[in-house]
Amino acid sequence: MNNRVVSEKPQAVYFYGTCLIDLFYPQAGIGAIELLRREGVSVIYPQSQTCCGQPAWNSGYRDEALAVARRQLALFPRPIPLVIPSASCAGMMKMHYPALFRDQSDEATALNVAGRVYELTAFLVDVLDIRLTDLGDPVSVVVHTSCSARRELGVGDKLHTLLRQLHNVEILEPENSAECCGFGGTFAVKQPEISAAMALDKAATVRATGAQRLVSQDCGCLMNIGDVIEKQNQVMPRQHIAELLWERTKN
């Protein structure tokens, strides 16, 4: 799927870091911003951003989701793209804000913002047509494509498009790659037993590739799978795609 709605390379974009990256994986956010800036796009990071509201939306707490989402809407007044280094959060804004704000007074604003949302890898590939030169040592990475990227936004292949530009990176796919890792946000809290069983299965297939690193476009999956692997005392550093790309291509 081509998610391109702007025809020319924008001069500036808003950047939405997501709460998970904010607290656990800031390097992913920094990597993404550096990549964007190197392409000549200036990045605006509204400091008042918090969370997109997805956890409450997926739990049925729509009033709370709406209140939180509404606060985010106000942060993106200019008609420029909004880039999000997570398919899950991008999916929330792009695919679910229209339903969340249906019949609300600010529905038009929500639709406007939703229309400007890009998942990072899709933005790098489809809009910026980014060209990367690999400066890193040979490494093998196992790729986990998040369900939001694969099925909700249809941008799962962008991760591979980007990685294939890095000549020293060997890309490995786990068996049963399309299967969910079992995170599911609040699912992991509400049904921890099923979530744990799924995470164990996913970690096993990921480990079986023998890759040196685990890469994804979504930090929720990285945390879920990576923390299982760590618990098993295995060394397989996890990296968000943006962090990996920046690390291997910066001068």
């Binding site: 509204p46 049925g60 009033d63 369900c147 099925r151 049904q191 995470a199 879920n224 618990k231």
Partner: protein, 476 residues
């Protein structure tokens, strides 16, 4: 918090052998489906057509049912309406008593499972014999089907061999499925000949002709509906379609999605009881149309898509949760994603099934394969909201699911309130996240089941907000 569902899950997850077996079968079903979809574009076109057929049928449900009823009646089929499963069972019982019948043979039917007709009739001294091989195995084991297409999906071959040998000591022990099937078939033949009544389900009802369509692979459905002098068909009211022309695309999609077959071995089209010049067929055909909450569901513009389902089972085969826990853990007649949306709507949130919308990571695998494109994750989202909604609030839709709001727990609601307050006050949010980073080495290492298999997540040394304040970027 332990619920019925969670203890079912805990039990299911402990059965390693069953789990491993289940995965193998589910993977095979996935591969079969994949193998049956050679041309992507043609398949998507077929899906479009079938989605439209089902949407149109459910939109015009009352009209089509009326049309169907009058055509079926004109053909000589006796149509009965049942609001509840009890009524449906009583109608079956009435027909049995009218014919002084104490025994019936049964084809595979999920609606008969919904009715619990076997147990009901048994309590009135009437025996039911399941004649579908999978259902027969489940019946011998005194269990419930674990899948809507493959009822004995959880049973390994050896287990089946032992089960059959245990019930038919006269048969030599054998693990070859074909041989086993042959022996069962042999046993069934006499039963079919002797049975006064045959009961089956229905896949589709054609309104314009009054036809019942039933597909199957073993021929037992045909025998149940032709050999005994009385045929009782049971089905849900949502199975109606407008035209005979709608049938070929639906059957095509149904069988490919279910088992990867281009067509089933048997396609039964039942129009009427035996006519004077017919070589076979029952003297009476009864159709029982069960509502059991369906018309209530049909009244909601979002939820009604649940009724588009053609029961192919593809969503079940592709569900990562089902793959882990199997069918019985759901505790409902229909398991998997379709069960997780349908059963709570039928039974209400106060029932154990009310928890089933939580049995999903919202990964979207179900919607991706659903032949009629039911937006299962969106319906799950809607049901999660229904479950915790405040009943009094002036939302634009009335609660349609019984027990709406009963899932709202004060503590959980409070946590979401606090969460929302923090996330709408960036100053507070930033202070809290910063605090978490400063306490990163002192956070609890034990977080229940999460940390039973994972290390506890550890906040970064500083938040992205903090990092970026020192970078030269616009914060607007």
């Amino acid at each position: 918090m332990s619920t019925e569902f969670r203890s079912n899950v805990a039990h299911a997850l402990k059965q390693d052998a069953v789990q491993t077996h289940l995965r193998t079968v589910v993977d095979r079903l996935r591969a079969h489906r994949q193998g049956a979809l050679s041309d992507d574009a043609a398949f998507e076109q077929l899906r479009n057509r079938c989605e439209a057929i089902r949407a149109d049928a459910i939109r015009r449900l009352p009209d089509l049912l009326e049309q169907f009823e009058s055509n079926a009646q004109r053909n000589g089929i006796q149509v009965h309406w049942a609001e509840t499963t009890l009524q449906a069972n009583q109608i079956v019982l009435g027909i049995m008593q009218q014919h002084r019948a104490t025994f019936l043979v049964k084809g595979k039917s999920m609606v008969s499972e919904e009715m619990g007709v076997n147990a009901f009739l048994q309590s009135h001294g009437i025996d039911c014999l399941e004649t579908d091989l999978g259902e027969f195995i489940v019946q011998l084991a005194d269990e419930k089907p674990a899948h809507i297409i493959v009822p004995a999906i959880h049973k390994k071959r050896r287990e089946i061999a032992r089960l059959i040998h245990g019930h038919f000591p006269g048969l030599p022990y054998n693990e070859d499925i074909e041989t086993l099937a042959q022996s069962v078939r042999h046993f069934m033949r006499d039963k079919f000949r002797a049975a006064p009544v045959g009961l089956t389900g229905v896949n589709f009802m054609v309104a314009e002709t009054g036809t019942l369509c039933l597909v199957e692979n073993e021929g037992n459905g045909r025998l149940c509906s032709t050999l005994p002098p009385v045929h009782i068909a049971v089905t849900g009211i949502e199975k109606v379609i407008a035209r005979l022309d709608d049938l070929p695309p639906l059957l095509n999609l149904l069988t490919r999605s279910a088992t990867g077959q281009p067509i089933t071995a048997y396609v039964n089209m039942i129009n009427s009881p035996r006519r004077p010049d017919d070589k076979d067929g029952p003297d009476e055909v009864h159709l029982i149309l069960l509502d059991n909450g369906r018309s209530r569901i049909a009244g909601d513009p979002e939820l009604l898509e649940t009724l588009h389902c053609i029961r192919c089972g593809a969503c079940i085969n592709h569900c990562p949760v089902y793959r882990q826990i199997g069918g019985h853990a759901y505790g409902t007649v229909i398991p998997g994603p379709i069960g997780a949306i349908l059963e709570p709507q039928k039974q209400g949130f106060n029932a154990a099934a009310g928890e089933l919308p939580q049995a999903s990571t919202l990964c979207g695998a179900c919607a991706e394969v659903c032949p009629v494109r039911i937006p299962i994750p969106a319906i799950i989202n809607r049901l999660r909201w229904e479950s915790v909604r405040k009943n009094q609030q002036s939302q634009n839709s009335r609660p349609v699911v019984p027990g709406a709001g009963s899932g709202r727990k004060p503590l959980e609601a409070l946590i979401w309130k606090i969460w929302a307050w923090c996330c709408t006050h960036p100053g507070i949010y930033n202070r809290l996240t910063k605090l978490a980073t400063r306490l990163r080495n002192r956070l609890p290492a034990d977080m229940g089941v999460w940390t039973a298999v994972r290390k506890a997540p550890k906040p970064a040394q500083a938040t992205l907000h903090e990092h970026l304040r020192t970078m030269n970027i616009d914060h607007e």
